[in-house]
């Protein structure tokens, strides 16, 4: 009864109109216009209240922190003060800090970026290989599940022992962690491709090359894009944690040294710097993704 075309039978109301009527929309026009009068005044005032509440909250928290931090010498050695942390951030930014510099941040981000690219590339290659044959997929599935359950962080010491406490060992470790993450995402992504598309394309006369170009490739690109946001943040975490374990440069090393001498200002400041870097990178990725997926229907 309900096939394509039946909805356009003449005289029959459009389904959205029916919904409108059912929900009482359109019938009570005056009510709408009244609310339109109010909104320009009401919403900004509410926004303003919330915004000032947020600022007040931040000031209160920082104020308490500052007060407790300056109340005694021991507290200052444990929790520092927001003022000291701000000073450290300023020194770091202007390059006059003795603990950590832009080059440390650059090293950490390079390890993360290098590992991320390497890991995603290998992840795509093996995911495509594993999903190319049904037998291979069946064969690999328990191994994939086990590897997915493994906390990837645990591999960091292994890479440090094998490759040494240098830049390369971090890149390789980040690559391994990102590989497991992106392999799993892309592999499940490829397997979740709607068989309907595949069959339809085949019926339309697609050969294997066509299928790859028109169905598989776009879907892989989509899954890579989705997993990239997760991967980027995770890559930074992995780089930092492996720097905690063993390094002679990088932000993780700076934080690790400061922790060793109980310097809360640099520990908090250093972690804040990494966090800001991670946040900015995350925002950029979201922007770029939005730019390239704006054609999609939401």
């Amino acid at each position: 009864m309900s096939g394509p075309g039946t909805t356009s039978v003449e005289g029959r109301p459009d389904s959205s109109q029916v919904e409108d009527l059912a929900a009482g929309r359109g019938a009570i026009a005056p009510d709408r216009s009244r609310s339109r009068w109010r909104t320009p005044w009401r919403i900004p005032r509410r926004r303003l209240a919330i915004l000032s509440g947020q600022v007040a909250l931040a000031i209160i928290v920082l104020g308490i922190w500052q007060y407790v931090g300056t109340s005694s010498q021991t507290e200052a050695l444990v929790i520092s003060t927001p003022w000291h942390v701000a000073q450290y951030l300023w020194d770091f930014a202007s390059g006059s800090s003795e603990q950590g510099s832009w080059s440390d941040l650059r090293v950490t981000l390079q390890e993360a970026a290098g590992g991320c690219v390497l890991g995603v590339a290998v992840g795509i290659a093996l995911a495509v290989l594993a999903s190319s044959s049904r037998w291979l997929g069946l064969f690999a599935s328990p191994f994939v599940a086990v590897v997915n359950a493994l906390p990837k962080i645990a591999l960091a010491p292994l890479f440090i022992l094998i490759f040494g406490a240098n830049y390369q060992s971090k890149v390789y470790f980040v690559a391994a962690a990102i590989f497991f993450l992106s392999f799993y995402n892309i592999y499940t992504g490829i397997r979740s491709i709607d068989t309907l598309y595949l069959r339809n394309t085949r019926i339309l006369g697609a050969n294997r090359r066509w299928l790859v170009r028109e169905v598989y490739l776009p879907s892989i690109v989509g899954w890579v894009a989705i997993s990239l946001r997760l991967s980027a943040t995770y890559a930074i975490v992995c780089a930092v944690i492996s720097e905690y374990l063993s390094a002679n440069q990088g932000m993780g090393y700076v934080v690790y040294l400061a922790q060793g001498v109980n310097d809360p200002t640099v520990v908090i400041g250093g972690i804040l710097i990494i966090s800001f870097a991670a946040l900015i990178i995350d925002r950029v990725i979201v922007r770029v993704q939005r730019h390239f997926t704006s054609w999609r229907l939401r």
């Binding site: 493994l150 022992l161 943040t233 905690y244 993780g252 310097d263």
Partner: protein
Amino acid sequence: MSSYWLQRGLVAIAQIAAVVLFLVLWQQAADHKVIDVFFYSKPGDIWNQIRSWYDAGTLGGDIGATLVVLSVGYVVGVAAGVVIGVVTGAFQWVGELFDPFLVFFNAVPRLMVMPIFIVWFGFGYRPQIYLVVTVIVFQIAVNVQGGLREVKAELLQNARVMGASRLDLIRHVYVPSVAIWISATARVTVGFAFQATIAAEFVGASKGLGYQVVLGQGTQNVQAIFAAILIMVIVAVVIDAALAGVEHRATRWMPQAST
């Protein structure tokens, strides 16, 4: 049907054969000095390492320490996350007030904040548990918020029409919907909690599987690293399988997503 089981059997045999072949090749390559035992160890050494931990009586203690941090951290994290999620989800203005802070903390990679906790609380269980809580609490809060918002207005109105009081609504509508969200995301959340436990044990512990891995690195004892990772994987797989069972039970009544 029988061809299906035949297939499964063949695949299972191939899988077991692959594992055995891999182990034998690894052992042989190490024995004949094709690969360096110092860097890559060998299955026999790894097994001996686990045996020696077992004989020394530290194996159970390390697994136990990791499980304590994981489970206490998870429970506290879920409890705190539910409180934050309910308060920010139920009162709209509180939600709006805390929203930018929640978004900020949810986006910050929290797995790396362990040094702060060590400076604050010293070494031991406490900072480790705090790290696990910090890593999962915001995810839980966001999930609970989502769970509360997903409650269908229709369902609420129907329940009210049938004379449900506020308490009835909480008991029969809100609590089940939040519980479903938590149990449905438990596998992912516990996975994060496990990562956090290991990361915490890397930096601030004297016990636990994560500590054994770092100790192996420090003493250049590669079979200890492999052995600890192997035990971790077993623990992780067992926990994941148990949670998969829980998730299956919790969501059994739900209509299956149509394919």
